[in-house]
Symmetry: C2
Subunit: 245 residues, 2 copies
C-alpha cells in the first residue's frame, strides 16, 4: 500500500528535507525510522523539499510498504522512533497513483519576524529578529502586487533550475501579534527561496527602504537583483498542503 | 553604582537561575560575562530564582560596579558576550538601597500547555504537551478560588523552607489561543513550585479529574498531597516584575 504522512519538524538541527551525503536531513531520519519499524527498506517522497533550518507543521511524504500494520497506526509507532524535533501528525493510506509533487495543490507557508528592540531568546528558533520599525500597512500594500498569476523570476534564487517561473499566489496575509509579524502565503507552488525573497522584499517595504508600489516594477523586471534579500531560513515554516485532485 | 538588569532566557539548557557547583546556571553565566566586560568581580542578585528548565522574559537582577560605562549602555555590550539563549532587555541605574527580593513587587508567570493530539516540535521547548481534552471554562472556574490572600501550603513543595506560606494572588487568567492554553498568574510572591502545582491542579480540573469547587477544599486542607502534580518546568515562563516602592 501507499502511505501518506503529515510531518511536523523544527528544522534548526537539520540540513533541510532532502537526503544528502554526510548530513542529517528530515528525509534521511524518516527513511531510517520507517525502515527500522517496518523491517523493509523504505524511501519517502516529500511534497516540499524545505531548506536547511526551515520548519514545518504539515509537510507531506508518501512511501510504499508491504506491512500489515494499519496505515493510521503507523504514526504512533513511528513517533516512538523519531527524535523530539520531528513528529508525524497523521498517517493514512492513499491511492497508489498519488504523488505529492505531481498533482494540483495549494501550499501555505508562514514567515515570522520578531520585531522589537532586543532579541527574545524564547523565540530565537522560529523567528527572524529584525529590530528596525516595520509598518505592516506598507507590507500589506506591497504584498497585494504579488497576488495572482505572475512570473516570479525576480523572486527566485538564481541557482534554481526550473521550466517556468510562473506561479499563482492566492493570498498573502500580514498580521502582527504583539512583537511577531507573520506573513502567510498560499500558492500553487513556490520557486526556490521564493517565500524568503518575498519576506525580504516586504520587510524593505515595511521599513521604508522601498515603496510598496515598487513591488510591481520588481515583479515586471524579472531580475533577481531587483528584489530584496533572501530572509533567513529560521523564520520560515511550511504550514500545510491541500491536494486538489 | 547599582545597576538593574531585565533578563530574558530560554531555560532549556540551564540548571536554573542560582549558582551551584558543577552546573551551568543563568546567574553564573551573567556573573562571568559581567566580570569579563567590566573587568571587576561581579555578583548579581536575582529577583526570581527560577528552577531548571524554566524560562523568563523579564527576570530582574542587580549588581554593584565601579565602571564608568553608562548603566543604560551595559545591556548592549553585555549581550555581545552572552549566549543566544540569554538576552538582557534593559540595564539602568537604581538607588543603592534597591534589592529585588526585599521590596514589594508583583510578579507575573505564565504556564503554557500544548493541548492537541500530537506533539508540535516547534513548541516543544516552552510548552507542556498534554493531549487529553481540556475544558478551559472549568479551569477558569477552579482558578477563581485561588485569587486573593490565602495560605498556599497545599500548593508549595514539601521541600520548601519558608516563614509563611501565605501569599496573595491578584489575578489568574486562562486563555486558549489555537492549541496553546496559557495560565497567567500575578501575585505578590510565589512559593517553591507554586505556579507549577497550580498548573497541575487546574489541568486536573480542566479534564474532569477533579471538580472546580474542589480547589477550595484543597486550599483549606493545607496539605501538598491534596493538590495536583507539579507540572513540568518547560511550560513555565517568568513574564515580569513590577516593583511597587
Amino acid at each position: 500500500m501507499r502511505v501518506c504522512l503529515t510531518v511536523a519538524y523544527d528544522g534548526t538541527n537539520y540540513h533541510g528535507w532532502q537526503v544528502q551525503p554526510n548530513a542529517i536531513t528530515i528525509e534521511s531520519v524518516l527513511n531510517q525510522a520507517l525502515s527500522d519499524l517496518l523491517k523493509e527498506e523504505i524511501t519517502v517522497t516529500g511534497a516540499s523539499r524545505t531548506d536547511a533550518g526551515v520548519h514545518s507543521l504539515g509537510n507531506v511524504a508518501v512511501f510504499d510498504t508491504d506491512t500489515k500494520i494499519p496505515a493510521e497506526k503507523i504514526s504512533y509507532a513511528l513517533n516512538q522512533r523519531l527524535p523530539e524535533d520531528i513528529v508525524v501528525q497523521e498517517s493514512k493510506e492513499v491511492p497508489s497513483s498519488f504523488h505529492p509533487r505531481h498533482c494540483n495543490s495549494r501550499k501555505t507557508y508562514e514567515y515570522r519576524i520578531l520585531n522589537r528592540t532586543f532579541r527574545d531568546p524564547t523565540k530565537r528558533l522560529d523567528t527572524y529578529f529584525y529590530h528596525h520599525n516595520i509598518d505592516i500597512d506598507r507590507m500589506k500594500k506591497a504584498a497585494q502586487y504579488l497576488v495572482g498569476e505572475h512570473d516570479f523570476k525576480s523572486f527566485c534564487s538564481i541557482h534554481a533550475v526550473v521550466e517556468t517561473t510562473v506561479r499563482t499566489i492566492y493570498a498573502i496575509d500580514v498580521e502582527r501579534e504583539h512583537d511577531v509579524i507573520g506573513i502567510r502565503i498560499t500558492g500553487n507552488g513556490f520557486l526556490y527561496n521564493m517565500v524568503r525573497i518575498i519576506a525580504g522584499t516586504l520587510i524593505q517595504a515595511g521599513c521604508g527602504m522601498i515603496e510598496p508600489e515598487d513591488v510591481k516594477e520588481i515583479l515586471e523586471a524579472k531580475d533577481r537583483s531587483m528584489a530584496g534579500p533572501t530572509a533567513p531560513a529560521c523564520g520560515l515554516t511550511m504550514i500545510g498542503i491541500t491536494f486538489l485532485d
